[in-house]
């Protein structure tokens, strides 16, 4: 009965229905993403511990330390929110909010797997737009702006250096990353992420190995993770752009990083690793795309953590060198390759 009432409402007021649906979806995504990011933090601490022959969190919440992140979050959210006297107050206050808003922007257009109902594959995505790959790519780069806002407004030398580094790095890496996305779109004949996933009978990581590598490196840079975490290199500039932040604002900036890590990994899975594609698993055929999706996602996340603990940090000039002199030409080569292969098989 409820279902029929909804269908009726949808037929009568299609615009209002779409708005309500969007808001509900946004609310779900916002909560799921943040909780998932906390799970990623926990995963990182645990995997890092294992890789370094130590335990990681193992006190709060049983021997796996599951509640550790809850405890950390409560601590961060109840601490005093200090705003330095010399800070540019409006910008300083808004930077973390811009940062979390950015993650929500990205999350809105990102497909999070699919479910099979009545033999039909229904992708889980809030806003299924035609240019979602392009949109996600554009929204990802706002992250550097929020970091710059935070760094510049703090009125702190370390923060400012971190902000400069962030911008220099962003410019160097968004270009090859964008070209990689274009190459994928050329091969998939679409900029829609759902269609890109559905077009991957052969994973694009196999069809464009070069593009995969370039995109993966550029993605790590974009996420600001080791070996590309120059913006917050604690051995050089304390904590970079978020040096002055504390309490809930620091918490937002910190979680935003992990949100981005999660979303970036999902983007990588969708663009190159075939998203939720995979053979149907007999008993749980309803969920089988989700199983594949999460397996791939987990592998990418653990790989990112593995890279973090085993590589040294680049110097900032070496990072921009790598971006402009190596990755950009390689991404161009990959574009040519994608066009050629795409034309051949079209």
């Amino acid at each position: 009965m409820v279902l029929s009432a909804i269908t009726e409402f949808a037929a009568q007021e299609p615009k209002l229905y779409a708005l309500i649906l969007g808001l509900v979806g946004a609310a779900i995504i916002a909560s799921v993403i943040n909780v998932a990011a906390m799970a990623v933090v926990w995963l990182e601490r645990k995997v890092m511990g294992d890789l370094q022959a130590r335990y990681g969190p193992n006190r709060v919440g049983g021997r796996w330390g599951i509640l550790q992140l809850g405890a950390d979050a409560i601590k961060l959210f109840t601490k005093e929110d200090i705003i330095p006297r010399g800070a540019d107050k409006p910008v300083y206050v808004w930077a973390p909010i811009v940062a979390s808003a950015t993650t929500m922007l990205v999350a809105g257009a990102m497909p999070f797997g699919a479910v099979i109902i009545n033999g039909r594959e229904i992708p889980l995505v809030v806003a299924n737009m035609d240019i979602s790959a392009f949109y996600v790519e554009a929204a990802l780069s706002i992250m550097a702006i929020s970091a710059f806002m935070a760094g510049w407004s703090s009125n702190n030398k370390y923060s400012m250096l971190g902000a400069f580094r962030g911008i220099a790095r962003m410019i160097a890496y968004e270009v090859p990353m964008g070209i990689c996305v274009i190459s994928v779109a050329v091969m998939a004949h679409s900029l829609n992420l759902v269609e890109i996933v559905q077009a991957q009978d052969v994973w694009f990581a196999v069809a464009q190995p070069l593009g995969f590598v370039v995109f993966a490196i550029a993605l790590i840079t974009d996420l600001g993770r080791m070996p590309f975490d120059q913006t917050e290199a604690e051995e050089e500039i304390i904590a970079g752009y978020n040096t002055e932040y504390s309490g809930i604002r620091f918490g937002l900036l910190y979680f935003q990083e992990y949100n981005m890590m999660l979303l970036g990994s999902i983007l990588l899975v969708n663009l190159y690793l075939g998203g939720w594609n995979g053979p149907v698993i007999p008993v749980i055929s309803f969920l089988s795309p989700m199983v594949w999706f999460f397996m791939k996602l987990l592998i990418v996340l653990v790989a990112l953590i593995w890279v973090r603990v085993s590589l040294l940090r680049f110097r900032i000039d070496q990072v921009t060198d790598l971006g402009w002199k190596v990755l950009l030409p390689l991404s161009m080569v990959n574009l040519v390759w994608a066009v050629a292969v795409g034309l051949y098989f079209a």
Binding site: Q52, E235, E236, S310, F314
Partner: protein
């Protein structure tokens, strides 16, 4: 090869009348008292004609009974010969003044500054006679003079003078009260000089330049010290170093303890090198006493010191990697785990893991426990395998090479001029190792190689450390083979140690470089003066010139590769 006697006779013929008294004891050490006005000429002659190109340090002694100050300049050579020249200059206690050697040896700078601020001996011709270790409030009281009565505690809260500066921040300053000035317990006249902050602000030119503080609390510093870099964007224009945040006055403390009570204090010089610090101090006192440890004790000392070298190099390398990598970089934790085995070996003998206080005058405290040999050989086997692995890891890692190669290059000539020692010097193609140059214990019978590298960059410094781990393993194995039963303490040593009046200087190869102890006795049960000449002091002095023109990220790569230890600088 030049002997100390050759140098002495050459000196006597070149400067007739300038040398007041001279002796050669023990062999390879030349002690001479030089007339104050000729010291620069004598040193210049020695440097140019007898290749005394290594300024090893200077010690100031307060001879209050004779109304004199003595400054002993220690000169040595980077491999041309093994003679150490200890040239003494005397000056009156009223308006004491000595000629500065900074014109001849660049690295005399810090040693002379220390003597100036502690004893108040003026160095004529010194370019920057500013306090180095003392805080500004204490300059002018000359705390290491024997008639120093102690100074009112400035750091109590009721003395703090609060002042709100124009930017709205509160500054605190401390000063003597009116009553103290009236009573004459504090000096009213103080030397005038530009403060550290003023000196560095003088260097700022242009709008785009700023001073970036690294320290006193910063991830790059191994202990509290201030490394200020003047940056233009990411480029370092100039670096300034301020030390003394944790100055403990160890040398003054040791003057007020008996000889024996000094041993635990030497542990605290550097937490990584307690055993070699013990060795250097005990060696110097043994020279004063004219005794030597029995053979078994010498072997035990060598085994432990080399074990200690291994653990120090492992930790030093690991810490350095966390600096250029990140705090979560894994090899650091693996090295800590490997180090545990070595620490267990040391612990089984000394009973302690960090502060051992193990070496005694004329021997060691304990004998080796049962099963020590097998345990150590097992640990060494493991360490060898692991170190091989680390070396391979660093050689094959392209990011590592990118960050390390050609960074902070010290040419051999530059390294000698800046006065660094230990692995940084050996990485600059200078095989200068006290175990060969100034053999102590039984190192002259040991078969080992002095590791050198040609490049002189940060990577070479780390590689030298890793290779030295192999050499240390080899030395320990030889010692364990050769060691025979016997006493572990020299006989006939009195309970109360009162050496004959005299002076002794004893150098050992610390994990970080040349560690020397200069001990002066006047026949009583307390030393007149103990001077610890540490290797890190020399590194720190050499750091600012090395950092000029590099990137901010390279500051970490260079400072970390020196394997510094602040507590030894702030003795």
């Amino acid at each position: 090869m030049t002997t100390a006697n050759d140098v002495l006779s050459a000196l006597q013929s070149a400067f007739p009348g300038a040398i007041e008294e001279a002796k050669v004891a023990p062999e390879r050490q030349l002690w001479a008292t030089i007339k104050p006005d000729r010291i620069v000429d004598v040193c210049k002659y020695l440097r140019d004609n007898h290749s005394f190109d290594h300024y090893s340090g200077a010690a100031g002694v307060d001879r209050i009974n004779d109304g004199l100050f003595e400054v002993t300049e220690m000169l040595a050579s980077h491999g041309a010969h093994q003679v150490v020249a200890l040239l003494k200059v005397k000056t009156k206690r009223e308006n004491p003044s000595v000629k500065s050697l900074t014109g001849l040896y660049w690295n005399a700078n810090w040693y002379e500054r220390e003597i100036w601020e502690m004893l108040g001996i003026n160095f004529e011709g010194h370019p920057e006679l500013y306090p180095l270790l003392l805080s500004d409030e204490l300059v002018g009281v000359w705390p290491w003079r024997k008639d120093y009565k102690g100074y009112p505690d400035y750091n109590t809260a009721d003395r703090a003078i609060e002042k709100v500066n124009p930017e709205g921040y509160t500054d605190y300053s401390f000063g003597p009260t009116e009553a103290e000035i009236k009573a004459g317990t504090v000096p009213t006249e103080r030397p005038e000089y530009p403060t550290f902050r003023e000196r560095e602000e003088m260097e700022i030119k242009g709008e785009s330049e700023m001073i970036l503080h690294m320290g006193p609390q910063h991830a790059v510093v191994p202990g509290p010290f201030l490394l200020d870099i003047l940056v233009d964007g990411e480029r370092v224009k100039k670096a300034f170093l301020d030390v003394g945040y944790i100055h403990k006055g160890i040398e003054k403390i040791m003057e007020n303890r008996t000889y024996m009570q000094g041993i635990p204090i030497t542990d605290r010089l550097c937490y990584m090198a307690a055993l070699t610090n013990n060795e250097a101090y005990c060696g110097a006192v043994e020279r004063l006493l004219g005794i030597e440890a029995p053979e078994r004790a010498q072997y035990i000392r060598m085994i432990l010191e080399e074990l200690s070298r291994i653990q120090s190099h492992l930790l030093g390398t690991g810490e350095f990697l966390t600096l250029i990598g990140s705090a979560v970089f894994s090899p650091f934790l693996y090295m800590i785990i490997d180090r545990e085995d070595i620490l267990s070996c040391i612990e089984s003998v000394t009973g302690a893991r960090i502060n051992h206080s193990f070496v005694r005058f004329g021997g060691v405290r304990n004998d080796l426990p049962e099963g020590f040999k097998d345990m150590t050989l097992d640990a060494l086997k493991k360490i060898r395998l692991k170190t091989e692995e680390y070396k391979e890891l660093f050689l094959s890692d392209s990011i590592y090479r990118k960050r390390m190669e050609g960074v902070g290059v010290l040419t051999p000539a530059e390294a000698r001029r800046l006065g660094v020692s230990g692995p940084p010097l050996r990485a600059s193609d200078t095989p200068y190792d006290m175990r060969r140059e100034d053999p102590y214990l039984l190192y002259k019978d040991m078969d080992f190689e002095v590791i050198t590298r040609k490049e002189g960059d940060s990577r070479a410094r780390v590689e030298v450390r890793l290779d030295e781990i192999f050499e240390s393993c080899y030395i320990i194995e030889q010692c364990l083979d050769q060691i025979s039963d016997g006493p572990i303490m020299a006989e006939g040593l009195p309970k109360k140690i009162k050496p004959e009046p005299g002076e002794a200087y004893y150098r050992v190869e610390d994990h970080r470089g040349e560690m020397g102890f200069f001990v002066v006795s006047d026949g009583s049960e307390k030393p007149v003066k103990v001077k610890a000449r540490g290797p890190v002091y020399a590194y720190f002095q050499a750091l600012p010139p090395l950092l000029e023109g590099t990137y901010i990220a390279d500051v970490v790569a260079i400072a970390g590769s020196m394997d510094a230890c602040t507590s030894e600088v702030d003795r």
